[in-house]
């Protein structure tokens, strides 16, 4: 076949909104050869997903394509009529979406859904459809496919659902597969198996792959070419090996720098190399034990979520807690900050048994202000009816017991400034702020009452890498200056390595490995830790070149 499979020329996509037309994609060009692999990398709002949806005409009603052409096998499909697109979708161009659990029909069995995907293009008797669907489920390595055939999506894990989604996408052997953030929200080891599956299947069946992702590591590991997008434009397009070895555009350079690697430091992420290299933070040897949790047990119904876990944390120390979903790390962190009761064990804070204070009255105890929490989702954890000022002022009034209006105002402004929020932002409501600004409010709210322990539950999981970089830098600075202790929960091992002196690896509610972060990452003892580390996609030039 001659010529590119997909050829996008000067594509513009605009959305009509209440504020008028907003251009999400402003003139991009893209060529993909049959069987080629291309990663479209960018942060939220870069227009990478919009581009994909424009190709398959799955954009929402408000979208228009004012300029540009999309050619598929030489055929102009920019404004192809619905019947033509229906014939192409699934049979020639397929998509795999993010959040696999919601991408499948919750009240239809997975087998039937795969059968539906085949039946959309091929008129076959039921028995043949069933046999083909079963084959596909086996091809995406669903164990006991015939037993799982009648299962509903809710009965399967996220990774399993994504396999079903992939089976549906490849059901009619399309020549182009577009995967839109296919592994966002999946654990790092699941991410690896799903990506290996996609890469394997597309190579085996001669499909071209467009991988849309915000993760440079993924892009480098699985695609030959990379295209970096920013605010609707392509800033750089080159083979993956080159782009990470010599990023030429400043934005690409910033992105590469902001992505945590096994060797990066917090300062490197934000692109500043201090004139005097800062000494690695050291906890004074004589620092007293701040938190002492021993033999914590937590049961949900009959399953053990946390099974006999003990940990200690010194004043000013930062302890990382890593593990995959279901490992019990979040449950443990909720127990430590007294948002949940343990079913067994002892919890001492500064020598006081805070586990004995009932949950219902804990907020009245003096310990509430000592232990503060930064939540995972910066948007969901802010009251949408409170201004940024009010969000921070509440705990100041209630926990720090400041009653004088002027004093409260001064404290809030101080903390906001400390967290990099300019004063004019304080009168805004959460929906008027960006993700990074909301994350700062979440942090400001927690540190405003001058706690001694900050529990951070995946504080940057919902943020873009460049925003994550500055938020991590802020947290690191806060800790050095205020002498805070951190319990840092994350699934991102590189982040934990940078932020914490010690790390605990959890699995199935138990501690698998525990130790000084650098040693643990350099020389992991447990097989599970090695597996976790091995699953992190990386883009170091050396490794990428040999891969």
């Amino acid at each position: 076949m001659s010529g590119p499979l997909l050829d996008i020329q000067n594509l513009h996509v605009a959305f009509s909104t209440r504020a008028g037309m907003v251009e999400a994609v402003r003139g991009i060009d893209l060529q993909l050869a049959p069987g080629g692999t291309l990663a479209v990398v960018g942060e939220s709002g870069s227009g990478k997903s919009v581009t994909a949806y424009a190709v398959t005409q799955l954009l929402d009603r408000a979208a228009r394509i004012p300029k540009g052409r999309i050619l598929f096998r030489g055929e102009d499909i920019t404004r192809a009529d619905p019947a033509r697109m229906k014939a192409l979708r699934g049979a020639a161009i397929s998509m795999v979406f993010q959040s696999p659990r919601t991408a499948l029909n919750p009240i239809r069995s997975i087998g039937l859904q795969v059968m539906d995907a085949i039946a959309a293009h091929e008129n076959l008797p039921k028995a043949v459809l069933r046999a083909r669907a079963l084959e596909l489920l086996e091809a995406v390595r669903i164990r006991d496919a015939d037993k799982r055939f009648d299962a509903y999506p809710a009965e399967l894990s996220g990774g399993m659902c994504q396999r079903v989604m992939i089976a549906m996408a490849i059901a009619c052997n399309p020549s182009l597969l577009i995967a839109d953030e296919p592994t966002t929200g999946l654990d790092v080891t699941t991410q690896k198996t799903v990506m290996d599956l996609i890469a394997g299947l597309t190579a085996e069946r001669g499909m071209a792959l467009i991988l849309i992702t915000h993760d440079l590591g993924l892009a480098a590991s699985y695609c030959r070419d990379v295209m970096v997008m920013q605010q609707g434009r392509v800033v750089e397009a080159a083979p993956a090996v080159d782009i990470f070895r010599h990023p030429s555009h400043p934005y690409t350079r910033r992105l590469v720098a902001a992505s945590p690697t096994p060797t990066s430091t917090v300062d490197e992420l934000v692109g500043e190399t201090p004139s005097v290299a800062r000494a690695p933070f050291a906890v004074p040897r004589e620092a007293r034990v701040l938190l002492d949790a021993s033999s914590i047990v937590k049961r949900f119904d009959s399953t053990l979520a946390v099974e006999d876990v003990s940990l200690t944390l010194k004043a000013g120390e930062s302890l990382g807690l890593v593990g995959e979903s279901g490992s019990g790390k979040s449950t443990l962190s909720r127990i430590v900050c007294r948002l949940a009761d343990a079913d067994g064990g002892r919890l001492l804070f500064d020598g006081v048994d805070i586990g004995a204070i009932p949950l219902r009255t804990f907020h009245e105890s003096p310990w509430r202000r000592e232990i503060q929490i930064v939540f995972q989702d910066p948007h969901e954890s802010l009251n949408p009816r409170f201004t940024a000022f009010e969000c921070i002022a509440r705990p100041v009034r209630r926990l720090a017991k400041l009653t004088d209006g002027a004093q409260v105002k001064r404290r809030v402004e101080e903390v906001a400034e400390r967290c990099g929020l300019s004063p004019d932002l304080l009168s805004r409501f959460p929906h008027q702020l960006s993700g990074g600004q909301k994350a700062r409010i979440g942090i400001a709210r927690a540190v405003a009452v001058e706690p001694r322990l900050l529990v951070l539950d995946e504080p940057t999981a919902a943020l873009d890498v460049s925003v994550q970089a500055v938020v991590l830098k802020l947290l690191d600075d806060l800790r050095r200056d205020e002498g805070l202790a951190f319990l840092f929960v994350s699934h991102d091992l590189n982040v934990v390595r940078m932020m914490c002196e010690r790390t605990i690896v959890m699995r199935h509610g138990r501690i698998v490995e525990e130790g000084e972060s650098h040693a643990l990452f350099r020389n992991p003892q447990a097989a599970y830790t090695r597996e976790l580390l091995g699953a992190i996609p990386h883009f170091e030039p050396v490794q990428a070149a040999t891969a």
Binding site: T56, L58, K86, A87, L88, R89, G90, A91, S94, M95, F97, S99, T102, A103, L104, N105, P106, I107, R108, S109, D116, A117, A120, H121, Y152, A154, E155, M165, M168, A169, A171, C172
Partner: protein, 343 residues
């Protein structure tokens, strides 16, 4: 097999859970009789001149001289034996009266519900598929009208147009023409009974009598059903799995019917349960306007005549039906939505 077992377990759990509510209703109807003005003994006395001795005698036989808790236990005991008391206006046991009138109300309510669904579902679906179109606005207008006009006004209007002006509908009194012979009471539902005995003319007459009151009630509940269908279908159409279905090239029909509608009907199912129970209780006015011999008009007549036993019976009956309807809806829900039975 396990699915059946699951449903059985759900039914059992639901019945258990509804016991406190039913107990509350029983207690309420019991207290109602004690709190309402008037001495029940006075009603049962032989005449206005009955002496103190006779009243005391009646009180003793009725157990009214006993302490309240004991009276309550007796009341519950009576209920357990199916004894709801005696109606003074009809002179019959309340249970017999209710049993006689229940089919009339049920037939009207069920027919109206089917009619309302037959109208509301397509209207709601069309409105959702073309949001903010002329059609959508039209549906919204009809629904709003249906809710704002009281049922007795709609009923009278329908009678005025179809009986008085056009002469299409029969005399709006009762279930059958006064001069026609009622069918043998097999199920009590006239439409079914006439069909069973093969009396097509009778069936047509009964249908004619039923259509106007049924329309009146259907119009009243059109709004919640159609609006809920629209809202629920709209939100489902925007969900991720619809995008998935479209991304593999499924036909529009399949996407809308198999993928969207089945999911969208789940909340509608809940509303149907609520609507049905409301209709059964609220059709008092419709029954009055059309002289329909149902339980609603029976209870209203009894209330006006200060005859409390039928009112108590009515309240209890509605409560039981409410529980049963919710049970059925719950079981249906469990069958349609696999996520429920997983929990």
């Amino acid at each position: 097999m396990s699915a059946l077992l699951n449903i059985g377990r759900r039914v059992g759990k639901h019945l258990l859970a509804s016991l406190p509510a039913l107990f509350g209703v029983v207690l309420f109807t019991f207290l109602l009789m004690r709190v309402l003005p008037g001495d029940p003994a006075a009603f049962f006395a032989s005449g206005p001149n009955a002496g103190q001795a006779e009243m005391a005698q009646i009180r003793e036989t009725m157990g009214l001289d006993r302490p309240i808790p004991e009276q309550f236990v007796r009341y519950v005991g009576d209920l357990a034996r199916g004894n709801l008391g005696q109606s003074m206006t009809t002179g019959q046991p309340v249970i017999a009266d209710l049993a006689e009138r229940m089919p009339a109300s049920l037939e009207l309510t069920l027919f109206a519900l089917v009619l309302a669904l037959a109208l509301a579902l397509p209207l709601g679906i069309l409105a959702a598929l073309r949001p903010n179109s002329l059609l959508d606005h039209g549906v919204r207008f009809v629904c709003t009208l249906g809710v704002c006009v009281p049922t007795f006004v709609t009923g009278l209007l329908l009678i005025y147009v179809f009986y008085y002006l056009l002469g299409l509908a029969p005399d709006p009194t009762g279930r059958v023409d006064i001069f026609a012979a009622p069918p043998p009471g097999i199920t009590g539902f006239l439409l079914i009974d006439f069909l069973l005995v093969g009396d097509l003319a009778g069936w047509k007459a009964a249908f004619g009598q039923l259509i106007l009151p049924a329309c009146t009630m259907a119009l009243f509940v059109l709004a919640p059903l159609a609006r809920m269908t629209r809202a629920s279908l709209l939100s489902v159409l925007g969900s991720d799995f619809i995008r998935t279905a479209r991304s593999v090239g499924m036909s529009d029909w399949r996407v809308v019917v198999v993928y969207a509608l089945r999911n969208a009907l789940l909340p509608v199912l809940t509303i149907i349960g609520i609507v049905f129970s409301t209709m059964l209780g609220a059709n008092v006015l419709v029954e009055k306007v059309f002289s329909w011999p149902g339980i609603g008009s029976y209870a209203l007549d009894a209330l006006l005549a200060s005859d409390y036993a039928p009112v108590q019976g009515f309240v209890l009956l509605i409560a039981v039906i409410f529980v049963m309807v919710n049970l059925i809806i719950d079981v249906l829900y469990g069958i349609v939505d696999p996520r429920i039975s997983l929990q």
